[in-house]
Symmetry: C2
Subunit: 767 residues, 2 copies
Amino acid sequence: MANVSDITVSAAINSLSALLFLLAFAIFRLQPMNDRVYFPKWYLKGIREAPSTSGPLVKKFVNLDFRMYLRFLNWVPAALKMPEPELIDHAGLDSAVYIRIYLLGLKIFVPIAILAFGVLLPVNYTGKNFKIMSVSMKDLAFGEIDKFSISNVEPASKRLAAHIVMAYVFTFWTCYVLYKEYKHVTDMRLHFLASQVRRPDQFTVLVRNVPADPDESVSEHVEHFFRVNHPDQYLVHKVVYNANKLAKMVDQKKDLKNRLIYYSNKFERRPDKRPTTKAGFWGLWGKKLDAIHYYTEEIEKLSKEEIVERERVINDPKAVVPAAFVSFRSRWGAAICAQTQQTKNPTRWITMWAPEPRDVYWNNLSIPFLELNVRKLIMGVAFFGLIFCYLFPIAFVQTLANIESIEKVLPFLKPLINRGSVKSFIQGFLPGIVLKIFLLILPMILMEMAKIEGHIAVSILEAKSAGKYHIFLLVNVFLGSIVTGTALQQLKQFLDQSASEIPKTVGLAIPMKATFFITYIMVDGWAGVAAEIFRLVPLVIYHLKNVFLVKTEKDREEAMDPGSLAWPITEPRLQLYFLLGLVYSTVTPLLLPFIIIFFAFAYLVFRHQVINVYNQKYESAASFWPDVHRRILIGLIISQFTLLGLLSTKKAANSTPFLLVLPVLTVWFYKFCKNRFESAFRKFPLQDAMIKDTLERATEPQLDLKSYLKDAYMHPIFKGGEVELMDFDEDDDDFHIVATKRASRRGSQAGTTDCSPDHRNTGFNAV
Amino acid sequence: MANVSDITVSAAINSLSALLFLLAFAIFRLQPMNDRVYFPKWYLKGIREAPSTSGPLVKKFVNLDFRMYLRFLNWVPAALKMPEPELIDHAGLDSAVYIRIYLLGLKIFVPIAILAFGVLLPVNYTGKNFKIMSVSMKDLAFGEIDKFSISNVEPASKRLAAHIVMAYVFTFWTCYVLYKEYKHVTDMRLHFLASQVRRPDQFTVLVRNVPADPDESVSEHVEHFFRVNHPDQYLVHKVVYNANKLAKMVDQKKDLKNRLIYYSNKFERRPDKRPTTKAGFWGLWGKKLDAIHYYTEEIEKLSKEEIVERERVINDPKAVVPAAFVSFRSRWGAAICAQTQQTKNPTRWITMWAPEPRDVYWNNLSIPFLELNVRKLIMGVAFFGLIFCYLFPIAFVQTLANIESIEKVLPFLKPLINRGSVKSFIQGFLPGIVLKIFLLILPMILMEMAKIEGHIAVSILEAKSAGKYHIFLLVNVFLGSIVTGTALQQLKQFLDQSASEIPKTVGLAIPMKATFFITYIMVDGWAGVAAEIFRLVPLVIYHLKNVFLVKTEKDREEAMDPGSLAWPITEPRLQLYFLLGLVYSTVTPLLLPFIIIFFAFAYLVFRHQVINVYNQKYESAASFWPDVHRRILIGLIISQFTLLGLLSTKKAANSTPFLLVLPVLTVWFYKFCKNRFESAFRKFPLQDAMIKDTLERATEPQLDLKSYLKDAYMHPIFKGGEVELMDFDEDDDDFHIVATKRASRRGSQAGTTDCSPDHRNTGFNAV
């Protein structure tokens, strides 16, 4: 059990490391050569140019204006300055709503903390439990922090009423804030959707599982079906090609090109020595070759193959998958088709809103119904295995990383391994490192699982993998920290305990783990967030690329990696803080300030990142909010049950009925909010569609919708090898100097991938 | 523990009582005077007349044709003769599918029984557990039946593998049969819907929670909204009036009329003595009055009040509730409106398919959104209380029925009560009777709860109360029989046990309760079903009415009470047999023949009843099937867990993983079926709507849909005091002699309730 001084030391260390990151960031971001690492968003929007190149060469890389260093913290007011509507314009609604989650944390926990400090701290501190305990149980060391926690209240004390009342107050307050926030986000979303400019996905529905027809091609079948069943509304459709092989070729070519550029640069710098490479795998072994010549040839060969494959995809009817994007004459028509069932058999002609073009996950569009069900079953079982046996894969890797097995497989390493220091490294650190690596790649594993499950949009994939990650963190980090041991052992322990014992076990462990979680918040929450703003990995990669690959301004642009809000990772982690805050609000209120500092600091940092760094992969108009809402409520319910268990260990069993009311009310509140708000996130109301349609018809009577929609849902591979980005703020140029116009940039980008205009416009218009 | 001879005795008694019921039925049904009790369905359809009245008077009441008595069992082939398509025509799809549930029981359990008898019985019987047990545990008496059950297999025996394999086989067989049945019922439903003649509900959508508008009436608001948002489809609408008070008046008048008829009949029979009544409550006390004069006056007074109230409802804008039935030009338009969301706020303009007119539950149409949520919460809590404290209300009534309290309230009864026989009756039987009465009125309580929950159609009300009854039976009858004590005690017991202990407790008790359940099946399943066909209560009531109220043929028709398939009661009870069969299939296969006899017998009886007796209250086109399917699967999962628990008491813990696979697969199968079939029961596909619309437009181009739909959704109170019945087989007259045409019957019915044609056609056409 840690005491106050332990916590102080830990707080000092973590604050210091956070400060160091911030300081490093403050210095690094002022250097012109890092400009593309710390402000990529502005470059992407085309409203920031490379820093001026006049003056001495050194100025190009290092900022010598020392006055600027004095204002090294001025990113904070800058991050706060941009008002929310402008932020939505600038970075999209998803990002704006995402950073509101941190604000929501503050709204929930600041009043709770004030109340808890005002009411519960004195009640706890004046308790006499430890005086009694210290006599009877000398071996159990209680820390000083526990004096402020519920542990210090003696069993069956009347004081516990204060905790119960506070549990009610906190629950109502949390629900009230959540309700208001849900309402606000719903309004924001509806307003955002209503004020959106015309977008292809507003008119388009994705239809899957088109049944095979012996007489007609998929394209004809789709057209006839919708012409008949949506007679006045059907406009045009686009079939989906299975271009996975082609996509692979394009990737391969890109890779080869990078190598070619690398060697060309090398040659340019040292024209006396012609660079060489090896023919084998990754250029590691095989015959020595002239690199430039070799890669030029390889690229040419691949280009030819690509053209053949491209022709095949376009002309082979088997390359058409039984899915299509069907566009309608009006938003009203699309809203109808997306929300209704088309045929008797619900496994055919499945319609849903088309995701926006850059959000489509093309590989999964053709999975048949039964297979989809089998995949979900298998992934469900695999996920269960992953959670409850999550040490199994690690154990497997660790056995491989074991000294004996290494010696067995690679006997020549034996003398090296048997050296003391190496041995202790392998035995002491390797298992820990393997665990760490596994936890790092876990989100990737979950994402792959979501892909196998067969979802058809990146946003859905992210939402699903976020859901899985949330459960994983809940079971393996929260429960796992409280009840030590692997999840499987915990499960066994819980199964062997009676149902009424489980909350007791957890309730007993909760107050004792407060100091552990405080440390966790400081390490993961404070220092981790500060590391996020420093962006060490992108910084290093950018400079490496800059040295080896970049030749032109365009290359530099490609070397820039803005990253994005890693939603499926950050949101579930964030939920852990809500959970901890709610659980400890009645138990150990001392934890709350740490949570509040985390939320405030993270709010600043992510607001800065969203404004200056992250690039948006897609825009879902905050469709993730119901998930956020639900998960916070899950945290709330867990907190209610832990308090219930804790009080039952305090011989306050007669309080159980009072506390059982809370989860019932919370579940009811959840259902109420679901009925009240969720449909705004899942459906598109006809009235709004009609209003937009009518308005558009009045203002743009000459609009040629057909040609507007014609190429919107083309496989990105046919568009020039990259997903075309469609931003919503085309004429937002009241900032910095606008030099390169987006259109011209696009053109040059497309040109790089050798996709001749002929290919980009042939044969893809099914109607 | 019962032995084989006990069971034999019980079987003999129950078979005998069943046979007696059947015999009584066979004799009674041949008497002409009981014709309307045993064949009301044919009268309702207008294809059976009262038996011929020629010949001696006695022939009118008693059947003297003794040859007919010889063929007293000929109802059985008659019940089986009618082929299914004709049955659907005759009694509706709901009834036809309902009796298929019994057939489904046979399909599942006959092969299971054969396999279980072939494989498990020998395995069990040759087990040696009791030889071992009888040495060590002499006090525990095992019956002979247990020799054939899994109890006779010694712990950790290899023989248990047979049970596990059989559990797999039974699960797969059950799922296979269920899948085929679901598919078949889906096809039947789709075919039924496709071949249905034009019905108002195909074109109509119910819209609720119409928001208040300061400038417009509800009717105008509805019209404008749908004219704008469904421009080409909107046809006409009908607002809903709050006519609850008026309905009460009509009921009251009907009651008074019955009294008037009673006294008139009395006077006719004995013209010398003018009948009198008393003015007070129910004519029990108060001033003596001339009965005929008094009731004629009362009826006149009420008629005047009714006219005033009728005027008020029609003219008072406050009598209009914010709901309306909106009809569209085509089924396509209605399908679209029913399945889409209309506005941003999902709590307003809620649209759903209109129930068919006779299915509407008018009282609940005006409940606002928030109230609906609160009602559901309260009813949820109340239902939880009802299940787990279901002895509380009984305890309360029983205290009232207690000797001391009776003596306190009614002291003059003291001498009577203190007599020995009366005392012992009150103490010995009253509690049991109170419990029995409570169980009898339970479905009514559940129905009232469903009404309070606010569902808007009778079919939904019945489905919801059936769901509640199913849970009640599961917890209080099945679990309650296994783990004795009230549900609340059980819950406490389960909570205090560890999660892994619960299946063990149940598993241990299951084989011991086999004889109890066998007796239960014979009492409730055999004798109970035979009692159903005899219809004692309707028989008595009909003859009472016949004597006191009936004057004309029309009165006799009204006295007839065909009853209906009491879906919310019979279906959950039926599920208990599936559950028992599945649970005992691997444990005590000897129980299976009893189940099979029940299913076969009940199939015969209910087929007969559906053909000859029951009147259909509404037609839902088998929309209850997903519930039936789900509940059988719940039974299957329970059976898997009990076997799991049972085997864990047999020291066969290593079989747990094998058996855990089964529930996972079953849940997956449930989800698969839900995705595959359920939407056919919940939605109406656009393609089918379009086909029907197109066909109709081609065959009946002159159809005036507007006038067809105008009065379909009028509150029944404005239609002549009764819900108008709309059958689907208007021209089905190839059976018996058709004498009274339905149309003329209708007219005379409507005339009886004093509803002048003026009222029936004024002011109700909102458009």
